[in-house]
Amino acid sequence: MPTSALPPLAQPAQRQRWRRLAAPQAFYPLAGRLLPGLWALAGGLAAAGLAVGLLLAPTDFQQGDAYRIIFIHVPAAWMSMVVYLAMAFWAGLGLVLNTRLSSMMASALAPTGALMTFVALWTGALWGKPTWGTWWVWDARLTSELLLLFLYLGFMALQAATDDPRRADRAGAILALVGVVNVPVIYFSVRWWNTLHQGATVSATRAPSMASSMLLGMLLMVAAFWAYSVAAALHRVRSLILEREKSADWAARLPEVQP
């Protein structure tokens, strides 16, 4: 196609750059360049966080060593909500702007979000048994987190059941956007209702109610889970791009698909 014959587009350079990045063709190699650093960051932060949390942080005077579950429970619970918000954001953007890459990003985030939610629930049950005396209670915090898991699973099942990718994107987006009301419910549940689950241990407005090495371990693990989630989603979205752009010339020319 003689593209050089077309008149140049009268657009600010900035906008063009964003539009170019929104093309799977441009985003695929960019994500590929970011991935090694992100995986290394996730691994390094996790190693540091585990060393601090399991080897250096002191035993809690009330909960003994059972409290060490916090180093995975809190990061997983935070990421379960952050990933959902990111997923709903990209799904909504894909719905409104009709950009394929945004919708693919939403689909790529869902399994990682579901994993984080499962880990938060599982570690919560194992923490609840020795501290509350029960694996599970139907209180507001736990129930809304369980609902979050079902929202992720519903999103993935709906997309898997819809053959046409663009229709799957739209259907998933509507489900993701409806479910977004659950996120503030999870977050504020410990304040809105009388729950067995404790309130926030760490907040931006007051000094944390834990030893500094405990806090350091937790923050390292939060950063590790964050880097891991970004890396996993970017890795998955690259596969998703290849699956959907099978007939594109640029995809066929990639070095990794040469015989």
Partner: protein, 63 residues
């Protein structure tokens, strides 16, 4: 280091089942996700290669 021996570390002050149950399951699901990411990528590149071999002559490789 707050532990005096490996056995003490493994015992987790009597909470070994809960602490290691939490860390162990996390390791299992993260390992499973990493494996599935690698498999999905391999499947995607393999399919693209097959696709290309099937109708490779039609592609304008010069552009």
């Amino acid at each position: 280091m707050i532990w005096n021996s490996l056995a003490e570390f493994a015992d987790m002050g009597g909470y070994a089942l809960y602490v290691w149950g939490a860390y162990g399951m996390t390791a299992v699901v993260v390992g499973w996700e990493l494996l599935s990411l690698v498999q999905r990528r391999r499947r995607a590149t393999d399919e693209l290669r097959d696709w290309q071999a099937f109708d490779g002559d039609d592609h304008d490789t010069a552009a």
